[in-house]
């Protein structure tokens, strides 16, 4: 597959912006329904300080949530790997919890944890916990049999096999789990902010909407996109390093 270069990204970005402008022209939508790109760019520029302030709030919710959720997910996957009992009893519960739409929990979390950071962090954690757990657990279970045979023929203990064979072999799987999480975590945080908050980009969007500052609302949306893209790029970078270290047969 051809790897997109920064130039490719720039071209597709221009196409999107141009398409957006075309829709504005063709539909003749008023600026309080669909503002044109220039207006949004201006709103972004004029409100940069405000956006930055709320950006920092959402970013910290997302980062803390990502960290905690990944940590919890990874620990759960390790626990599941080492304990047959956990596999029997914990796994079905985990799968069952996935039938609950996490969004529906947002009001409850706000009720319990208040309007501050913690309810949003909890949302982010809840939304990424399962993807991280299941991808890492899959990775831990699918260690190549040959690696395990070799370790066993060398008389490694169960714990050493876990931490020196299974875990390193499963790191690429964990990395792809965290990659997924980096996309989901902002969703959790923003939904948390919509349900009840006094800060953050999600809150700013609602506020701008209420005051018919649609251009500001779009600017907040773009700030949110930038947050997700930034996060993804960092995770991608780390993930690729991990994959290089644990490079599979070819390449």
């Amino acid at each position: 597959m051809h790897k997109p270069t920064p130039k490719d990204f720039l071209v597709s970005l221009l196409v999107i912006v141009f398409g957006w402008q075309c829709i504005v022209w063709v539909s003749g939508a008023p600026s309080f329904i669909l503002p044109d790109p220039v207006r949004v760019a201006l709103a972004f520029y004029n409100n940069f300080g405000l956006l930055w302030e709320h950006f920092l709030v959402t970013a910290s919710e997302v980062l803390i949530g990502l960290l905690l959720g990944s940590l919890l997910g990874a620990l759960t996957a390790l626990h599941l790997t080492m304990s047959k009992t956990a596999q029997r009893f914990l796994m079905p519960v985990l799968v069952l919890t996935q039938t609950i739409p996490v969004f529906a929990l947002a009001p409850i979390l706000t009720l319990w944890l208040g309007y501050g950071l913690s309810s949003k962090i909890a949302m982010a954690v809840l939304i990424i916990y399962f993807p991280v757990t299941s991808t890492f657990f899959d990775g831990l279970r699918n260690t190549p049999q040959g690696y395990l045979d070799l370790a066993q023929s060398m008389r490694a203990t169960r714990w050493r096999i876990l931490f020196q064979v299974r875990v390193p072999a499963a790191l690429p799987a964990l990395a792809s789990g965290i990659r997924l999480a980096a996309v989901y975590a902002p969703i959790g945080a923003v939904i948390g902010e919509w349900v009840g908050a006094s800060q953050g980009l999600g809150y700013l969007m609602l506020l701008a909407n209420g005051r018919v500052k649609i251009d500001l609302m779009f600017a907040a949306l773009i700030a949110l996109c930038l947050l997700t893209i930034g996060l993804r790029s960092i995770i991608e970078l780390i993930g690729r390093r991990i994959e290089q270290r644990t490079a599979p047969e070819s390449d």
Partner: protein, 250 residues
């Protein structure tokens, strides 16, 4: 030499019956690995060669074995084997050096770096000591796996078609290197390659459904020249025997 034997080489044996569910894979089989010699095991696929190897290695074999596996010094064999397979099984996240000292690390022992470096030198990888496996060619990877196997310094070495994925020339070099470096060990080599077996075996066994049979090689000691007339003759006899065994399977 890297592997100074602390004791004399040992003889190993495996006698018994192996069942796979209800199906008997082999019955009252008796395998003896002569001390300090290369025993090569040939036979059609599915006859149980790899199972034999797994049993000796103490690995899960997916069936039930009843019988006796032991060594001539009457000590348990469990901890005294090293195992090398067709795929090199180098851990991709470790360097060549890290892979060579893997056994010691997995047992929580202190790394013997000096010995590891010496073995890496003997297999000719000193310039690649700190590279990761994916940076090496197939032959180099198999040499790293050989160094890792030698590092274990066990009296019994089990080789499961370790050279079969290599090209002809690299394979010949690997055979020579392995034979030279594993001199004082008791070695079991499972292979599909009749020429390889004829080149390396001190005892050559063919495994069929009815058990093991010894094939004589009257052409001197290994490493034999496979172009030698006598080896060519042995090889055609052996191939005829293997074809019969295959036919019996069908």
């Amino acid at each position: 030499m890297a592997s100074k034997p602390e004791t004399d080489p040992l003889r190993f044996h495996l006698k018994g019956t192996f069942r796979h569910g209800r199906q008997v894979l082999f019955q009252d089989l008796s395998l003896t690995l002569e001390a300090g010699q290369w025993t090569c095991l040939l036979g059609p696929s599915g006859v149980g060669k790899s199972t034999l190897l797994k049993l000796l290695a103490g690995l899960p074999s997916g069936g039930e074995f009843s019988g006796d596996i032991g060594a001539s010094d009457a000590q348990p064999i469990g901890s005294r084997i090293a195992y090398m397979a067709q795929s090199d099984l180098l851990y991709p996240w470790l360097t060549v050096y890290g892979n060579v000292v893997l056994g010691q690390n997995l047992r929580g022992e202190i790394e013997d770096g000096e010995r590891a470096n010496e073995l890496i030198r003997q297999v000719g990888l000193q310039a690649h000591r700190d590279k990761r496996p994916h940076q090496l060619s197939g032959g180099m990877r198999q040499r790293a796996a050989l160094a890792r196997t030698l590092m274990e310094d066990t009296p019994l070495v089990l080789l499961d078609e370790p050279f079969s994925a290599l090209d002809t020339r690299t394979r010949r070099e690997m055979q020579e290197l392995a034979f030279r470096l594993l001199q004082d060990k008791t070695v079991l080599l499972v292979t599909h390659d009749a020429a390889e077996a004829l080149r390396l075996a001190q005892t050559l066994l063919v495994m069929t459904e009815s058990g093991l049979e010894v094939q004589d090689i009257d052409a001197g000691e290994p490493l034999r020249q496979i172009t030698d007339d006598r080896i060519v003759a042995s090889q055609s006899r052996l191939l005829i025997r293997l074809n019969q065994a295959d036919g019996a399977d069908a």
